[in-house]
């Protein structure tokens, strides 16, 4: 078997008396889309936080590209190639779409302790930022302040920022959250285009999207992974059906 790009090893996190992550172990192979599904409050966002470095686990290890990154903060993991999107959109509203992406390019393009030249005139940064925007179909909106973009466009921009980091692993926390049916269709098409080229840990509520995109699915309930497997196997798993999947979704 190939070396996984991400390995979670017995992660535990408690908030007060509540075990929100209760011994989670899972792996993401290179190029694989590994989806994590589970009912609201199952601990999916909390899990993403521990992978990205926003939260420190109480126990367990996060191994990224063979390196134990459990103790590294968010920014360090990002520089290693771990890119995350936020469930609640967190683009920079005062920056243009292009500058949002250019910031991510800048982060991996040499020192940012440069004081003289206007960053907006750096063609190399802008070129790659523009390519990331084009990749998600936001090219025509490059000059718009992110705060003036529609909700769906901001979700696309989240993705463009993550891609501009040239990540080795994408952590996507509900990339479809709050998107309308048309936007959802466009975003799913976009994610399908990333398939095979990026390793993705995908948290998503939209079951249609998950079963269409994922190579593997892990089901999280009360902080525990109750099943991991190919979409067909997950669909047929009686424990999953009982614990989580509604009849109409499983049908």
């Amino acid at each position: 078997m190939v070396e996984p790009i991400l390995r979670l090893d017995g992660l535990r996190k408690r908030f007060g008396g509540l075990a929100v992550t209760d011994g989670v172990s899972l792996e993401v192979a290179p190029g694989e889309i590994h989806a994590v599904i589970g009912p609201n409050g199952a601990g999916k966002t909390t899990l993403i936080h521990q992978v990205s470095g926003t939260l420190r686990p109480d126990a367990g290890r996060v191994v990224f590209a063979g390196q134990d990154v459990t103790a590294l903060p968010l920014a360090r993991r990002a520089r290693l190639g771990l890119a995350r999107s936020f469930q609640i959109t967190a683009v920079l509203p005062g920056f243009t779409a292009l500058e949002n992406a250019a910031l991510a390019v800048q982060a991996r393009s040499g020192s940012s302790f440069r004081f003289l030249r206007a960053a907006a005139t750096e063609a190399a940064l802008n070129r790659e930022a523009r390519a990331a925007l084009d990749q998600v179909g936001l090219g025509p909106r490059a000059g718009m302040p992110a705060g003036a973009l529609s909700h769906g466009e901001r979700r696309q921009l989240e993705l463009a920022i993550a891609l501009a980091m040239r990540p080795r692993l994408l952590l996507l926390d509900e990339p479809l959250a709050g998107a309308g049916p048309e936007e959802t269709e466009r975003l799913v098409g976009l994610l399908r285009g990333l398939r095979g080229r990026y390793a993705i840990l995908l948290v998503e509520h939209d079951m249609g999207a998950v079963f269409a995109l994922a190579d593997r699915i892990s089901v999280l309930v009360y902080g525990r992974v109750i099943a991991t497997g190919a979409p067909a196997a997950i669909r047929a798993d009686p424990a999953v059906r009982a614990a989580y999947l509604g009849e109409e979704e499983a049908a």
């Binding site: 920014a75 360090r76 920079l92 500058e99 910031l103 991996r108 004081f115 003289l116 960053a119």
Partner: protein, 310 residues
């Protein structure tokens, strides 16, 4: 292009007026003294703008950096050194170092604690200055003249000093603008808008903010050097927290959105203070409410006003 031109119109106008002021009936001694004070406090306000408007950190200790620049002039004067080419770098360096050391501690926290810790360090500097008996303690220290430049005494000349202050104000303004537009400034701006986002793409805000704070300290030190020379007298009141508050007010009144706001805010407050002071001795009673109204109704500050109508 026209947008860029319009954005530059107000600064061009104001700097042009300052350059022409001595020939527009403001050449008298009192007027030149006032203008010099306004421009010097403008430099100090610019330094604070870099911290508040640039890095998004509210500080109540900027006067300490100003005062350290001024006391550098005093300490060197007492040691017989009055050469500006020596004094200026020392004033800038001392203030920047103080900012670096105190900022490293203050920035470990955020929000209200940052305000309180900068205030506390400012008060420490204030009481230190008050206790320095060899430099006059509470009474302050009178300089026997302005610094010399390469041995020449041209800073004594009112007009020359006016243009020195103006040049350094313009230079500080352009420096702040350049910094904010650079890679470094882009990280500062990103961290100000959303620190989590900056971290998520790989930037830890701390070192960038700390360097910005140190640069701001250096600029304030330069203002302190000028202020000492303008008044030929330095006292602990230079470092008082009230002055930090005044500077913060200038920055907010002027508008956080652009460094030019700091220049406008400083000019407006110094000139308004003077004008109201002539009208009535109870001018503070008018001044206070006026500032409150300005903050309430001038969203984006004076600079925003210029944008809309200019």
């Amino acid at each position: 292009m026209t947008g860029a031109l319009r954005a530059a119109a107000l600064p061009l106008l104001v700097f042009g007026l300052l350059a022409a002021a001595p020939f527009l009936g403001l050449g008298a001694g009192w007027a030149m003294t006032l203008l010099a004070r306004a421009m010097i406090l403008g430099i100090a306000a610019l330094s604070l703008w870099l911290v508040v408007g640039g890095a998004g950190l509210v500080s109540l200790g900027q006067a300490a950096m100003l005062g350290i620049g001024a006391y550098a002039v005093v300490v060197l004067d007492a040691a017989g050194v009055t050469e500006a080419l020596v004094v200026t770098p020392v004033a800038i360096g001392a203030a920047a170092l103080f900012a670096l050391a105190t900022g490293a501690v203050a920035m470990r926290t955020g929000g209200v604690s940052f305000i309180m810790i900068t205030l506390a360090f400012g008060q420490m500097a204030f009481f230190t200055a008050s206790s320095l008996a060899i430099y006059g303690g509470d009474d302050g220290y009178t300089l026997y003249g302005r610094s010399t430049v390469a041995g020449a005494r041209w800073m004594q000349d009112r007009l020359a000093f006016h243009y020195l202050c103006l040049g350094l104000l313009l230079g500080s303004f352009l420096l702040c603008r350049m910094l904010l537009a650079s890679r470094f400034g882009r990280v500062l701006r990103a961290a100000r808008e959303n620190a989590l986002r900056a971290q998520a793409v790989g930037f830890e805000p701390y070192p960038y903010r700390l360097v910005a704070y140190a640069i701001a300290g250096g600029i304030a030190g330069l203002a302190g050097f000028l202020l000492a020379n303008a008044t030929e007298f330095v006292a602990p009141s230079f470092l008082a927290w009230q002055r930090s508050g005044d500077l913060l007010f200038m920055v907010i009144l002027g508008g956080l959105g652009s460094p030019f706001g700091a220049v406008l805010g400083a000019l407006a407050i110094v000139l308004l203070e003077e004008w109201l002071g002539h009208l009535t001795q109870h001018w503070r009673l008018i001044f206070g409410p006026l500032l409150v109204l300005a903050v309430l109704f001038l969203r984006g500050g004076l600079v925003g006003l210029g944008r809309r109508h200019g």
